[in-house]
Amino acid sequence: MPDMLDDERADDAPPTTAKGSSSDDGLTHFSRAITINRPPQDVYNFWRDFTNLPHVMDNIIAVDVLDDVSRWTAKGPGGTQIEWTSRVTEDVDGALIAWKSDEDADVFNEGRVTFVPAQGQRGTVVTAVMAYDPPAGFVGRIVAKIMQREPEVQLRRDLRRLKQLMETGEIATNVRNPAQLAEEGK
């Protein structure tokens, strides 16, 4: 993600919050931060075991961790599923995880999540920066249709669920009973 690390900026704000930000790598970039009232190591450990992520990430159906790659299955449009293989490109224990999907993935995506001690003993600031390639082709166009606005919405909701689970041990829901929960496919 070259221009994510651009240091020729006029201020200290995150690059993804720049006005009229458009990247020259053709990818769609977005980011989001959340403060979680737990130590960085705990949050990192939860995230680093990718098989935990379907619990908090609504779009992710399953993650299989193979040797040095992981296989991701996500909800696609109209009840379909999309899959990709992802590789960890950087890993700093308790502090940072970065990943990149295969170049030929249906939806090429890459990202980086950092776990930084929050000021004033407020726990951990988790910042996720992600980029994806709005896909080409017929399937791609359908995927893009939902993906183009969805990933940002999805990320902020997923981070809130992560926070809820890490802080309270459960994910808040307004369903009245377990049957309703099952109906919603959770």
Partner: protein, 392 residues
Amino acid sequence: MRALAWHGKHDVRVDTVDDPGIVNPRDAIIKVTSTAICGSDLHLYDGYIPTMKAGDVLGHEFMGEVVEVGPGSTLQKGQRVVVPFTIACGNCFHCGKKQFSACDNGNPADNQDIAEKLYGQPMSGLFGYSHMTGGYSGGQAEYVRVPFSDVGPIIIPDGIEDEKVLFLSDILPTGWMAAENCDIEPGDTVAVWGCGPVGLFAIQSAFILGAERVIAIDHFPKRLELAAGFGAETINFEETKTSEALLEMTGGIGPDAVIDAVGLEAHGFFADNVIDQIKVSTFLGTDRTHAIRQAIIACRKGGRVSMPAVYGGFVDKFPLGAFMEKGLTLKTGQTHVQRYLAPLLAAIMEGKIDTTFLISHRMPLEKAPEGYKLFHDEQDQATKIILKPGMV
């Protein structure tokens, strides 16, 4: 189970709906023994609150018996509890600061989007109060699922009847916090706009917290009479020029602290469209947004403004100049109910606070639609209506 469901403006019905069950580990299921209709519920009834869906179960003031607990609950079956209307986790940064109505985790992740867009940050979840505050089923029902039951509900000792403690769920702590937010000093006069349940509890609380005088403002004789019963001096704003009267009654100084317990809950929820909706209604005919403006103008220099009244969006013609020039302080917010439960229960048990004076009607849950109509149409006589699922 039977439950009072919202179906649209002035259309609430007692329906048969799915029973609640334990979903999350910290949940408990409460069998409701008493529940109340709140002034805030009337705004749902009048159709001013967006993000309501037909079939939503209402009610945020309720108490009852624990009938089922999840593995993470600390409650036990058979215990009697009062449940706070704010759904707070007890673990987050805000809960740590006892700012329970600002809890980060009580509102489901997807529901937080709306409030984040409107207010910058999402608020806690609330029972039975639209999808913006979580979309939780409320307590005007036979049973309720209560999340975070290990930190929210307060256990009520045997031998104290429901009616003495039910209002711990909302309006008593709300009135108390309103008075606390006045930072009352000896010799102070506190003026209270609105003698509904919130205003009346604020008046009682202001005296307990050391106010020398309280001046109560409303236009309903019955409500002003209740205020006078606690030792407040009264102003009927239909008969009297409120501002002039306040100035003279305080020797030209103005009240040291002012409380807005009137509010205009729906004003500007989703700005433009709702404002339009309100403008065509008769709601503005009662000139209710007048209260906060008038309170700011009346308040003495360097005084304190406490605003328990609920506002949703934008308000026109806010007297910002008077606010700044006089150096006023404003404190407000949805009540941090959990913060006040234990001390207020103790005060009730010691006989320092009376809550039963407020109740004008008791009805079975099945008659809830009648209760809403009565509370809506007959504000002077209907000061507070209690619904009892078990009553015949």
